[in-house]
């Protein structure tokens, strides 16, 4: 009695295998599909990396702007009226201590330093941005004291800065992050007019 397996084998033995054309078609198809999959994977990984960088830049920029806004809005006074685009600002807080906010092109970070009114040594500046991003040093703190013979407007500060990724050598437009922040912040408690 024949085993069923032999009956299955019979037709295979008789076939002649794949023809050259068939093989070529299969190889070409595999090539095309492989290329498409590779492209999709590359784009996916690249955009994922960019999204991570963008998230870091946005988080840092938002935090820095929030700290700057709070410090300036709650300040009692800012003395250096009309300063032309310096990269730092010193405000007098309501408890008569002073706080300096500055951005440095060398460290690439925003820092905040508080100085007490007493003789105590000032604390070293503490960074308010992390090392994943850098501030390119073109930040602007412009203290505007409007001429109050014309308008009853409190002092305000024009703030501008931009955030890029830490390795700023990357010029590839697919990975380059450059977020800019601009705001005008009025002194909430300023009663000088």
């Amino acid at each position: 009695m024949k085993l069923p397996i032999t009956t299955y084998r019979l037709p295979i033995k008789k076939t002649d295998g794949f023809s050259l054309i068939e093989l070529l078609v299969v190889v070409a198809l595999m090539g095309v599909i492989g290329t498409i999959v590779l492209q999709i994977t590359t784009v996916m990984f690249r955009s994922q990396g960019k999204a991570e960088l963008e998230k870091a830049a946005k988080q840092n920029g938002d935090l820095a702007m929030k700290i700057i806004e709070q410090t300036i809005r709650d300040a009692k006074d800012i003395v250096d009226c009309g300063s032309t685009h310096p990269t730092y600002i010193t405000v007098t807080n309501r408890d008569n201590t002073q706080t300096t906010l500055s951005c440095s092109a060398i460290s690439g970070q925003f820092t905040k330093q508080s100085i007490g009114s007493g003789a105590a040594a000032p604390l070293p500046p503490s960074p308010i941005t992390d090392t994943k991003v850098r501030i390119p040093g073109d930040c602007v703190f412009n203290v505007v004291c409007p001429d109050n013979s014309e308008r009853q407007t409190p002092k305000y500060v024009y703030v501008y800065f931009s955030v890029e990724q830490a390795n700023s050598a990357a010029t590839d437009p697919y990975t380059k992050i450059d977020l800019s922040y601009q705001e005008t912040i009025s002194l909430r408690t300023y009663m000088g007019y």
């Binding site: 602007v140 412009n142 601009q182």
Partner: protein
């Protein structure tokens, strides 16, 4: 057993006709191409929307910078550079007669439009004399830096005066 025998004589089994295959393939092509076109249009629209919102933000920033420039300097020095001609105020608040390079072109123009931005009645007796300008910030954008500026633009306008 009978089925296997049928398989063996493959030549006898009738497949799809050429017409059926052609119709199937062309249907597939039509469906695939419409999906592709829809996808491409969606991507283009998303890119346009992103650029338009960025352009609007830049135009609003120009108006804000013009106000800061007025408070920081005087409205006359702003008018000197920007009245009836295009200028650009950079992030350091320097008014320049040129627009920046990049995919966004930004211009700011001041105009005297009495109907839209009036000065107060009897203002001539006030000191300094109130002046009011209509500031229009226009941002155009293009696909990349090599392309000429297309007609796509975002416009923001506001009144700027030295009168409260």
């Amino acid at each position: 057993m009978k089925k296997l025998l049928n398989l063996k004589s493959c030549k006898a089994v009738k497949g799809q006709s050429l017409l059926e295959v052609l119709v199937g393939l062309s249907l597939l092509a039509v469906v695939l191409s419409s999906v592709l076109i829809a996808q491409l249009t969606a991507m283009k629209n998303a890119d346009n929307a992103r650029k338009k919102s960025q352009a609007t933000k830049l135009a609003q920033e120009q108006i804000e910078r013009a106000r800061v420039f007025r408070d920081f300097s005087t409205i006359d020095s702003l008018a000197n550079l920007c009245l009836n001609k295009t200028c650009y105020i950079n992030s350091r608040l320097e008014a320049l007669p040129v627009t920046p390079t990049g995919i966004y072109g930004q211009t700011l123009t001041l105009q005297t439009v009495g109907a839209e931005c009036p000065t107060p009645a009897g203002g001539a007796s006030l000191n300094p004399t109130p002046v009011s300008y209509k500031a229009t910030a226009v941002t155009t954008w293009r696909k990349n830096e090599a392309q000429p500026f297309p007609a796509l633009e975002a416009t923001v306008s506001s009144c700027i005066s030295n009168w409260r």
